[in-house]
């Protein structure tokens, strides 16, 4: 029997391989996309040149020459357009940061209240959610700013709420603390308390795991926080006094002034976003099976501890990813500030600076990248936190 000649399978040509084809098409697509953007870019530059519109980032070093009502870093008319960018950025970060903190607190309270067995509490939470979730945010901002503001008195008839605190149509005026030599000791005592609490907490956890005995960490550290800094304060001879706001000319001078634009925007953002957070918290809690509650009760845990130690930690898995998108929304929504004159990034930089310099492309590009970076940072942090708090199966 003659050996069967092994015929090699007929080699397919190079372009018939699925893998190679996919590669070719991807390279082609990538090239087309790049070509498209290069084309758009060159076209834009060409058109700008042809129409005599100045380009480049040189304008950032020019003197801005306009005033901004609120600045967390030193600023006046003699600073540059680059500085207005920073001032606006910090104002945006401030209002978004505070908004996220307040909305989270309010949202959790309302979300838990919504599930309360108490009929009145759960109905009140429901009414709050349905009302503020369904009214457009811009209208709410206008409401808090124009309607509520109008009810406040003029500077000369300011409401005097306690020592050195005044409220009028121009904002809230608070005493400013002025620290003298020796206040470092008070701060030092405070920091010491923080570190001691962390160490104590670790020790208590280890001890509980080993022996099952609990240690009153909260009460102990609370006592430390109350006693140590106070002691330091009096031992160093009260190194702190207050600068009180005083009515001079048109308005109060001195102290700390919180402008009503900030208050209105923060209130609206908090109340609006908290409704969504409340619903997220509710859905998170409801996603935990009721058996967990019953098991916790069976172990003898009281309802408060059951919620804190059993339900919420499991609900967090559902809550955190959705919370992230609410934080992003809040940050982006803070740009509605421009409607009531809160000097955020959009109002100061993408508004006034853009208009005074006419550098639309550069300014908008910078503003967009700020919002992109802020969003990415928030996502990054929340994803890290999510990983950390994920259910650890043992």
């Amino acid at each position: 029997m003659a050996p069967v000649t092994q015929t090699r399978p007929k080699s397919t040509s190079w372009w018939n391989s699925a893998q190679n084809r996919a590669l070719v098409f991807q390279v082609l697509l990538a090239a087309a996309v790049i070509a498209f953007f290069v084309y758009i870019g060159r076209n834009t530059v060409h058109n700008l040149e042809q129409r005599g519109i100045a380009t480049g980032f040189g304008f950032l070093n020019q003197k801005a020459g306009f005033g901004i009502i609120m600045h967390l870093i030193p600023y006046d008319e003699s600073y540059t357009y680059g500085r207005t960018f920073l001032v606006g950025l910090l104002n945006t970060v401030l209002v978004s940061g505070l908004g996220i903190v307040f909305a989270t607190i309010l949202g959790f309270i309302v979300g838990v209240a919504r599930l309360s067995p108490n009929w009145l509490i759960s109905r009140m939470a429901a009414v709050y959610i349905e009302t503020f979730r369904n009214v457009p945010l811009l209208l709410q901002i206008f409401f808090w700013y124009f309607a509520v503001l109008r009810a406040l008195p003029a500077p000369r008839q300011s409401l005097h709420i306690g020592s050195g605190v005044f409220l009028n149509i121009r904002g809230v005026f608070l005493p400013r603390p002025i620290f003298e030599d020796g206040f470092g000791w008070v701060t030092g005592a405070f920091v010491f308390c923080i570190i001691a609490t962390i160490i104590l907490k670790r020790w208590a956890t280890r001890r509980q795991e080993a022996t099952g005995e609990q240690f009153p960490v909260f009460l102990t550290s609370l006592a430390a926080f109350l006693i140590l800094p106070t002691l330091a304060f009096f031992l160093t001879g009260k190194p702190l006094h207050w600068e009180y706001p005083e009515l001079k000319g048109f308005n109060f001078r001195g102290g700390i002034a919180v402008i009503p634009e900030l208050t209105a925007l923060l209130t609206a953002l908090t109340i609006y976003t908290a409704t969504f957070i409340a619903e997220i918290v509710r859905s998170g809690i409801q996603s935990v099976s009721h058996g967990q509650t019953e098991a916790a009760y069976a172990l003898g845990l009281r309802p408060g501890k059951t919620l804190r130690l059993v339900i919420i930690p499991q609900a967090m898995r559902v809550i955190i990813p959705q919370l992230t998108s609410q934080y992003l929304n809040l940050t982006k929504n803070s740009s509605l500030a421009t409607a009531i004159g809160y000097p955020d990034l959009v109002s100061v930089f993408a508004g006034t600076t853009l208009n005074q310099t006419g550098q639309a492309l550069e300014v908008i590009a910078m503003t967009m990248s700020v919002y992109l970076s802020l969003s990415l940072l928030i996502s990054l942090f929340m994803n890290w936190y999510n990983k950390r708090s994920m259910l650890k199966e043992r």
Binding site: F36, G52, I169, G249, N251, A339, G341, P343, L354
Partner: protein, 330 residues
């Protein structure tokens, strides 16, 4: 892909604005979001005002019909981008002619249709008589205006402090002023008078005597289309020349038979031709017939015949003590 490229290049190829307007059949004109006397919509959506009439004059010259205008309301912040990007054909929106805007924004200012200056309005209750007494005041301003810069300069020069409360539209600015958020509202004087009649109680507010800046206001076009620039420029000049020659919307038809060569050149019955602008010979006649001369436009919108009752002042003709002066049509 090629088709997409072709489409983009085609839409980017610059056609002359005049041809585009004539092909489209109407003029797209950027105006303010609502400022009595300059550009203000009534409850039926009809726009009136000095800036609006400037748009109508150009439409009358280019299309022969002053009503063929689509008004695009723009805030101070939006206006230049709208013009640069071609969203509007011209901007007629109490816009100050400045060095930066003329040279770095790709814009051309086609003359001045109102000479203005920045002033201050305060509540009568404050008892302030002069802007020099405003140290420490909170000031309401509209965002993205020359006003914002002049204000800073003025207060620095006089070693005074201020707080700038900056709003997006003039409506919000007035609301802030009325609510008492600020002590002072600053803007061009003409606007102050216009905004004052928007207050619930106009008599409670008073405009201070100081004028702290020069604000020549006028229509603006994109750079790079000289033909269109000429048309807008000469539409304004035709109205000023018409007032000087005593040609009005009422008498323009009889004036057509005038033996005065200057009037003949203006109305296109003799002498120079409309073709220099690429228009019909009666381009200026249409403006005067349908919109009126500069004086009529002023009186009707901001002057004696309007609720604003602003005196002609600087805006009177050069021959009558003002500085309104147009090059001759010849």
């Amino acid at each position: 892909m090629v088709a997409v490229f072709l489409m983009i290049s085609a839409s980017l190829a610059m056609a002359s604005t005049k041809d585009e307007v004539q092909k489209r059949g109407y003029l797209q004109c950027g105006v303010s979001t609502g400022l009595p006397g300059f550009s203000n919509p009534d409850e039926k959506g009809n726009w009136t005002g000095l800036d609006v009439d400037m748009c109508r004059a150009v439409a009358a010259a280019v299309l022969g019909d002053a009503t063929k205008v689509k008004f695009v309301p723009l805030t101070a912040k939006e206006r230049f981008t709208a013009l640069q990007s071609g969203e509007i054909d011209m901007l007629s929106r109490n816009t100050t002619w400045t060095y930066t805007r003329d040279t770095s924004l790709g814009l051309n200012f086609a003359g001045t249709d109102y000479y203005d200056g920045q002033g201050f309005m305060v509540s009568k209750k404050l008892g302030v008589k002069s802007a020099k007494e405003l140290n420490g005041a909170a000031v309401c301003i509209q965002a993205g205006t020359t006003t914002e810069l002049n204000l800073a300069d003025y207060f620095r020069q006089n070693k005074m402090e201020y707080q700038a409360v900056v709003f997006d539209t003039s409506d919000q600015t007035v609301k802030g002023f009325e609510a008492g958020r600020c002590d002072v509202l600053t803007s061009d004087q003409s606007q102050l008078y216009a905004l004052r009649i928007k207050l619930a109680n106009p008599d409670d507010a008073v405009v201070l005597p100081e004028v702290i800046s020069k604000e020549p206001l006028g229509p603006v076009v994109r750079q790079g289309d000289d033909g269109w620039f000429n048309i807008v420029k000469w539409s304004l000049f035709a109205m000023i020349n018409a007032e000087e020659m005593g040609v009005t919307s009422k008498n323009v038809d009889t004036m057509k038979n005038s033996s005065n060569p200057a009037v003949q050149r203006l109305l296109g019955t003799g002498g120079v031709k409309g073709s220099f602008l690429g228009l019909n010979d009666d381009w200026a006649y249409q403006i005067i017939k349908q919109v009126g001369n500069y004086g009529e436009m002023f009186d009707r919108n901001v002057g004696a015949g309007s609720p604003l009752k602003i005196a002609r002042g600087l805006n009177a003709l050069w021959s009558k003590g003002g500085i309104m002066y147009a090059p001759p049509i010849r």
